[in-house]
Amino acid sequence: MTAVSMVVNGKTVSKDIDPRTLLVQFLRDDLRLTGTHVGCDTTQCGCCVVHVDGLAVKSCTALAIQFEGSQVTTIEGLANGADLHPMQAAFREHHGLQCGFCTPGMIMMAVDIVRRKGNDLDDKTIREELEGNICRCTGYHNIVKAIHAGAEAMGGLSKAAE
Amino acid sequence: MAMTMKGAVALPAEREVVWAKLNDPEVLKACIPGCQSLDKTSDTSFTAVVKLKVGPVGATFKGSVELTDLDPPNSYRISGQGEGGVAGFAKGGARVELTDPPEGEPGCTLNYDVEANVGGKIAQLGARLIDGVAKKTADQFFANFAAAVRAG
């Protein structure tokens, strides 16, 4: 067993874990943060995307012990209390989810796309940037719409904050 | 997943010397990539443990190796099969034939004609890598074997 300590959704957590524990197993099994999902074994589906130190990471392909001291945000930590993150609200408003299983990873990736590509996104950019996230329900049409809207809303918020 | 390979290597030793090494478990054990053990169960059969890695799947295969169609000191068929538990199975064989070297060169030529088959997880996840791995494994075996022959 190896000791690991990191900040998850603003709270410091320390645990003794099997060194081969993946970050997603640490989040789901040790911390019971089950919003982060596992949809494949080969880092393709993106159901497991979380943010580590501000960057999107597929938590199924990283060992928990790699992130000693890191800041981790999962889907459970995205909303500000009762206020949904604009990207969460956009997914609901534009029906960007059906079964909901890929949704946490989609939303975390969408927020990362905005971080990297800005608030004014075209369809092509969004579709390209979703290469690592698979949804089987929506046919992506409404996910693309939601990310447009979420990105704009995030821009509005950050402008308002300036 | 089946694959086949053919090739030839020039060896700097007489046919009888090479033949003896082809039948020496210690030499074979040293040459088979990933071979953990090779124990004789009869003059022509062995039990073997081989570690093999295909892409993301690594496994220890336990199985048997058998020599058939013996025509000393010219040719035999070496075949093996192993079960790798959850990783699946591997089986295969090679016809090995020693022939005269090209005009004017010393030693002999070892010709091989390999066929290999894998199944289970190793095929499911490593399908696109298997040809490469099989070729690399065969190349390595014969390179090791050539080195063993050279070392006498």
Binding site: I75, G100, T103, R136, Y140 | E83
Partner: protein
Amino acid sequence: MSATGIGASVRRKEDFRFITGKGQYTDDVNRHGQAHAAFLRSPHAHAEIIRIDAAAALAMPGVVAVFTGDDLAADKIGGLICGWMIHSKDGEAMKAGGHPALAQGKVRYVGDHVAVVIAETLSQAKDAAERIVVDYRVLPAVVATSDALKPGAPVVHEVAPDNAVYRWAIGNEGETQAAFAKAAHVTKIDLVNNRLVPNPMEPRAAVGDYDSGQDAFTLYTTSQNPHVARLVLSAFIGIAPEHKLRVIAPDVGGGFGSKIFIYAEETVCVWAAKKVGRPVKWTSDRTEAFLADAHGRDHVTHAEMALDDKGRILGLRVHTTANLGAYLSTFSSSVPTYLYAPLLSGQYAIPAIYCEVDAVYTNTAPVDAYRGAGRPEATFVIERLVEVAARETGSDPAQFRRKNFVKSFPHQTPVIMCYDAGNYTAALEKALEMADYRNVGKRKRESERRGLLRGVGISAYIEACGIAPSAAVGSLGAGVGLWESAEVRVNPIGTVEILTGSHSHGQGHETTFAQLVSERLGIPIDNVSIVHGDTDKVQMGMGTYGSRSGAVGMSAIVKALDKIEAKAKKVAGYCLEASDQDIEFRDGKFTVRGTDKEIDFASVALQAYIAHKFNGQDLEPGLKESAFWDPTNFTFPAGVHICEVEIDPATGVTHVDRWTAVDDFGEVINPMIVEGQVHGGIAQGIGQALLEGAVYDAAGQLVTASYMDYSMPRAEDLPNYRIGMTQTRCPSNPLGIKGCGEAGAIAAPPAVINAITDALGHEDIAMPATPQRVWRAVQKMAPKLAAE
């Protein structure tokens, strides 16, 4: 229309938990003291099991138990079943080979279940599974659909020595031959409907639990129909009587058919929970899902269409070989028969149809219903035939369809179905308009100037949904009735719980069903909750598949709401001192006709429970009603999809440039959700046409067993969709709903292939039309086109 009533695009109630990570899927369920299961699967497609040595595995750290098929047999646990009896045309019953949950003596496909290891942790279970030594005697395998019936093919089950499960036929052979005899033109095609892996994003999972104090089992499982799972596990497999077995299907992350079936893994988990005295959890990894989830499609078909000299369809004859895999999955036998051939008439008036289906065993994963189930296969046959026939006779494909459409209703086809309502021409005209069909030629020339090949493809589909009238399906061999149940529980303060036997795994029932109740009872939508997926809460149900939840599930709710209204009127009558015959109910208020006396719904609910205004002997207290709805007919959603593709002849890459869908789903409760269903269906259909295919090698190894090798549709592969609707009310249910869940997956594949073949100028392309295949097909184009 109210903001939350029928017809409004109400944002989904269930979304809050999904977008905040609070969904509760089966793998999120953890029971105190649970152990973890790992399955040892066959690496061979076909082999005898000589011996299983688990000694080394049992000695591994953390191992609780190792079980094999012998342990299940010792406990008299029955095999998995197929619940639909099909008879061959000679009257013989289908040949169902035994299907033990853990192999007994033989394995029949790669991924077949050999043993289970139960350990403290999943890693320990997996590590120990590596140590189980199995001696196999490997047997030759039969893999390809078209090889199964060949003389001398390896035999998968001894009960079927020629690998034929059944040789079935439907229609009128004599009339059909006569139609062909007088035909002016016959169009012939050979088609392969490619094998697909359903791939809901949530892999299957199960948690079995046993309460020794109650002598009762609980199974949490990824199911589309928990009551059917309980019925099968209880009555056929013999886990426990139904009243001692609770099945819970919590949030389920997509199903597409693959979670209808009762599989080996949940059977073993719930059985083993009692054996080891603690909860047992299993979660599939993606490769296991590829290996052992029931696959879909896999037909090989030859089809012919007879035309008269005016281009009218005279007859259709079809021969299909359907691969059912190594074992008969739960509903597999019905898919290439009654869910397939009765739809071969499509939207067309065809006087004579004859179809033969040979279903075969092979050493591959079981094949069963996948989104559309039989109907996409039928639509692919008829819509490819119609397209090719139009081209061969020099007609415009739209005009050819228009000419042959069914135009009056009801319309009895020669293959069982009686289409009750529709307007196929209206959908076609609207789709052509939306797709700007008249300017396709111009767009083709523009593409040509850029060195690209543009093609347009039409698909006019029909499906039979709202599955299904119980007596009718019973006469066709179904082992169950296909009604649905509902219970309406009005609480004393006027909030309402709806218990439904339908199961939502992405369809948004918590919203749509609540819209119906909100509108009907005139109460806020937030005062309605939908309860489903738990056999201890909902008395009985048949689950969700075959686009049945709206047409059948909601009809049951309507029927229960009718009873609620009748009872509430009686209560209101006592409160308002009037006869219940004089009470009117509208917008949540009960009024006495012709007076200003009124009482609202919540007050009536309270009065029903406190029972102060009436005598309990005259009227039972309480306000709770239940109903079972058994449909009187299938429903017949139909529509026209038009696809426009651009092919790069240099690379063979097909880009879907435009997609137009015009569907007639009857009445629509929530357009936003319905459109979402259409989008998702189209994506799966485009996936089948362009990207997806399960591939076994000659030895039966599945070489597309992960997302590295099985191409799932990604955002970049798909276009934005233009969605339109036409509407003819469904006459066979109270809401007029036809169903929408499968439409896109049914319509899309022929639309794509018709577009590609239009671009190519020849018909020689198979699904999936990968860049490699399309590039090769481009090389076969007529010289003039290929030179461009």
